[in-house]
């Protein structure tokens, strides 16, 4: 990197004008790197079989997902190849022009060359023992079925063209470029999730559905694609500015009005959520329910990890305690069959869900104390390892023969009673949505209420510096225990709902993976940020479900998205207020304060005229 930082040319030709502080421009290295990357990317998706697998998956009209994937690489990396490096203050920005397009073209051509080499090697030597997915069909697909050499030449041209297009994107001003990118993503999403989108639009009573989608392949029609593109292009052009303005206007309101507006906004969101499951239909509601259970766990863990900074890797234990307590207390013992069923659980008081709930809370609190007490003096990595152990111990206890008369061992507890609310049995995904949503609202409220209280400040202080928190009078032992207890109770709600929803519990549902997924949700959402955690719980649990169609590639895509996300926004989807330390915000606050102070002074001066004036 050292050489690219140099801004002043070393040699100045005699008689030339003194060197201006020209900013760095695109370098050949940048072009080569991005070109090779694009070529490797396309080769990779071909080699793992994605190209062939998506051959018949039409997104827009006759355009299938594989070709979208194949041209996305040169397009994106061509853009990067032609993008001038960031301009430092005081330097003149390099002029944009044909060279940016040329850089993209070169990168694309290079990608094509790499791809040619790939096709050449894999087409002439049989490597299918190792790369089982590199079939002649896949290679034919990527060479347009025109023969290895001619076809890959054609592909080279295509790659170069899209590279150039990517490079040319640099000439477009930022706002329309961003809007166009988002609109293109939406078009692909509309095509990719067409069955779901069609169902939602149908439920909404959207009249032009048959013009928008092809009936057989389910792909967007050309008209549909253009409509979606234009709609989202315009929306994202308009939305960005007005969202910021709305935020500023909201903050400028006086306290009382802010309360009213905030309350109305919350009511609007609640209203929207009330009709949501009916718009979404069964399948999407079911996905949302699944996300809701994870959301409950994530909100609980957010208190433990996000607020109090206690890294708990065995969080699934509390989820399991909630699920098993509910299961044991509410399962429906068949008449006269007790003891003869597999698993032969001997005990079951057959309570209703609501009668069992206080016991669930008690059991979770107890579990919180049991896990919390021995780890009170541990910090950081040690805490993580010990809690990891606790998570496994819990699962093994539920699995053990020792507790088999109560928990059923590997066969678990089955026939868990349904929930009744005001005489209505909760069975349909829509009803479950409302139920889970109710608990979610409670958990969100608890998160906010506790965050802005004495105990919440104690947690944050412990996260920031434990020994100073203690020296400043915070009872660290009590505060940590409370974090574990509250976290455990919220997770146990998730477990209780999970048990009732599935109707049975098995020890294998409570593996370490659950702990890890929940932790990922909290981190990706933004530690200590409730909105971030909500968003990431929905996105991270729903994405693999929505991508189900992509079969074995969905986790590949999921993983790539996760990595990309953490590279782009390491502080999470929606960083918490504390973590958002943008200069701009601070300046705004300062300005507002100064204005208020000046106004105050002027008022005072008006009230009592300055002597002598």
């Amino acid at each position: 990197m050292a050489e690219t930082v140099r801004a002043v040319p070393r040699e100045v030709p005699l008689g030339a004008a003194p060197p201006a502080f020209a900013a760095r421009d695109i370098t050949l290295r940048q072009v080569v790197r991005n070109g090779v990357l694009a070529g490797l990317g396309v080769s990779f998706v071909t080699a793992v079989g994605m190209v062939q697998a998506f051959e018949r998956r039409f997104i827009v009209s006759q355009l299938s997902l594989d070709y979208i994937l194949v041209v996305a690489f040169p397009l994106a990396l061509g853009y990067l190849a032609g993008r001038p490096p960031p301009v430092l203050e005081g330097f003149e920005a390099p002029r944009l022009g044909a060279k940016n397009v040329l850089a993209g073209l070169l990168a694309g051509a290079l990608a094509g060359l790499v791809l040619m080499a790939f096709v050449g090697i894999f087409g002439n030597f049989d490597v299918r023992d190792v790369f089982t997915n590199v079939s002649p069909e896949a290679l034919a697909r990527i060479t347009f079925g025109e023969g290895l050499f001619e076809g890959s030449l054609a592909m080279l041209a295509v790659q170069a063209a899209f590279g150039a297009l990517g490079g040319a994107l640099n000439l477009v001003p930022e706002r329309p470029r961003r809007a166009a990118f988002l609109a293109a993503v939406w078009v692909v999403a509309f095509g990719l999730f067409s069955p779901l989108v069609r169902q939602v639009l149908d439920n909404l009573g959207f009249p032009f559905l048959r013009y928008m989608y092809r009936s057989v392949s389910g792909a967007l029609t050309r008209t549909g694609a253009v409509a979606v593109f234009v709609l989202f292009f315009v929306l994202s052009l308009v939305a960005k500015g007005s969202r910021l303005q709305a935020g500023e206007r909201f903050r400028a309101l006086p306290e009382s009005q802010r309360r009213v507006v905030g309350g109305l906004a919350i009511l609007a969101v609640l209203g929207l959520l009330a009709v949501l499951p009916h718009i979404l239909g069964n399948f999407l509601s079911e996905i949302l329910n699944f996300a809701g259970i994870f959301l409950l766990m994530a909100l609980g863990l957010n208190i433990v990890v996000g607020l109090a900074g206690l890294l708990d890797l065995g969080y699934v234990a509390f989820f399991a305690v909630g699920a098993y307590t509910t299961a044991v207390l509410t399962w429906d013992r068949p008449e006269g069959l007790a003891g003869t069923l597999p698993g032969s659980i001997r005990w079951g008081p057959e309570l209703t869900f609501w009668e069992a709930l206080p016991f669930v809370i008690l059991a979770a609190a107890l579990a919180g104390i049991i896990v919390g007490t021995p780890v009170l003096r541990m910090r950081g990595d040690y805490l993580a390892i010990v809690t990891l152990g606790f998570g496994e111990i819990t699962r093994l206890l539920f699995l053990s023969t020792w507790f088999k008369p109560y928990f059923g061992g590997a066969l678990g507890v089955q026939r868990i009673a349904n929930i009744e609310v005001f005489g209505v049995e909760i069975l349909s995904p829509q009803n479950f949505f409302y139920f889970i949503f109710g608990f979610g609202v409670l958990a969100v409220y608890a998160s906010y209420a506790l965050q802005n209280s004495r105990i919440g400040r104690a947690w944050t202080a412990i996260r920031e510096d434990e020994s100073v928190a203690e020296a400043m009078g915070v009872n660290v032992v009590a505060a940590k225990l409370w974090a574990f207890i509250i976290g455990a109770i919220i997770a146990s709600f998730g477990g209780a709902i999970f048990a009732v929803k599935v109707g049975s519990v098995f020890p294998r549902s409570f593996s370490i993976e659950v702990s890890i997924i929940v932790l990922v949700i909290v981190i990706v959402g933004g530690l200590a940020s409730v909105p971030g955690v909500i968003l990431s719980a929905i996105v991270l649990t729903a994405t693999p479900e929505l991508l189900q169609e992509l079969a074995e590639y969905r986790f590949l895509i999921y993983g790539v998205l996760l990595i990309f996300m953490m590279l782009k926004r390491p502080e999470g989807f929606i960083p918490s207020r504390r973590r958002l330390r943008e200069l701009r915000e601070e300046e705004l606050a300062q300005d507002a304060w100064l204005r208020a102070a000046r106004a105050q002074r002027e008022r005072e001066e008006l009230a009592e005229p300055v002597p002598g004036s």
């Binding site: 209420a449 209280s453 105990i455 020296a471 409370w482």
Partner: protein
């Protein structure tokens, strides 16, 4: 009357004796300074008094009662608050919240009342907030207004020191331990803080024990000076007395070459 009494206090770190049979006391309403060369055991003394590390021998009495073995948070609620040599704030918390944390020991609201937002909780919360802002206002306009909601990490170095002192003051201490309060401040800021230390005692009725390297501050405000070297008290008295003490000069400047 002695507010704080230290009797035969000893602390070893491995083979190094950081505090060596130290006897000292601080009377109610006094301003006492602890000075000494680097490694003399000054900060260790503070850590021992506030319970952050346990002593090996000896006793520490506060208002006549032994506080050895108490947790730091218990010692704070008895009325000893401190600041740190290398400012230790809660960086991601706002200025106001930093100070509000120090009210923890003086407030009672628990988890349930926070969830139910009971009237008592609201009252206590408002009171905590008011007390925090009051403590910050002690430093004039520097830490008030829009600064309330800034994160501690965005403050300047001198303001961080002030914030730390405000945090300690907000806990309603009887005895305030300041560990090098003027380190890293420019002469004007140092002068200002020297005056504030006097004001803390005169207006807030605090007893103050502070570690300081800047002799102008010690001379300006300390009524009594205790000099430590290798964990032992080598001199005690007014600034002028200790400044002319042979042993003190030796400790600071080294042994005079014997002719």
């Amino acid at each position: 009357m002695a507010l704080l009494e230290v009797v035969g206090l000893t602390k070893d770190f491995g083979g190094v004796r950081a505090i060596d049979h130290l006897d000292m006391h601080v009377d109610v309403g006094e301003i006492v300074s602890v000075i000494g060369p680097n490694g003399a055991g000054k900060t260790t003394l503070f850590n021992l008094i506030t319970g952050m590390i346990p002593p090996d021998e000896g006793d520490i009495r506060f208002e006549g009662r032994s506080i050895v073995g108490l947790r730091p948070s218990q010692i704070l609620s008895l009325g000893i608050a401190r600041t740190f040599q290398n400012v230790r704030l809660f960086p991601e918390m706002t200025v106001r919240e930093n100070v509000m944390v120090a009210r923890h020991a003086r407030t009672r609201a628990g988890v349930v009342s926070a969830l139910l937002r009971t009237p008592r909780f609201r009252r206590e919360e408002a009171e905590t907030r008011r007390r925090a802002e009051e403590a910050l206002a002690f430093f004039g306009p520097r830490l008030v207004g829009y600064r309330f909601d800034q994160t501690a990490v965005s403050l300047s170095y001198a303001n961080r020191r002030r914030l730390e002192i405000a945090r300690a003051m907000a806990s309603d201490p009887k005895l305030l331990l300041l560990d090098e309060p003027t380190a890293g401040m420019n002469p004007r800021e140092t002068q200002e803080l020297t005056e504030l230390i006097g004001k803390m005692r005169d207006e807030k009725g605090l007893t103050i024990l502070f570690i300081e390297h800047d002799m102008r501050v010690v001379k300006g405000v300390a009524e009594r000076v205790i000099v430590l070297d290798y964990g032992r008290k080598i001199a005690e008295g007014t600034y002028d007395e200790v400044a002319h003490n042979e042993q003190v000069i030796e400790a600071y400047l080294g042994r005079r070459a014997t002719a």
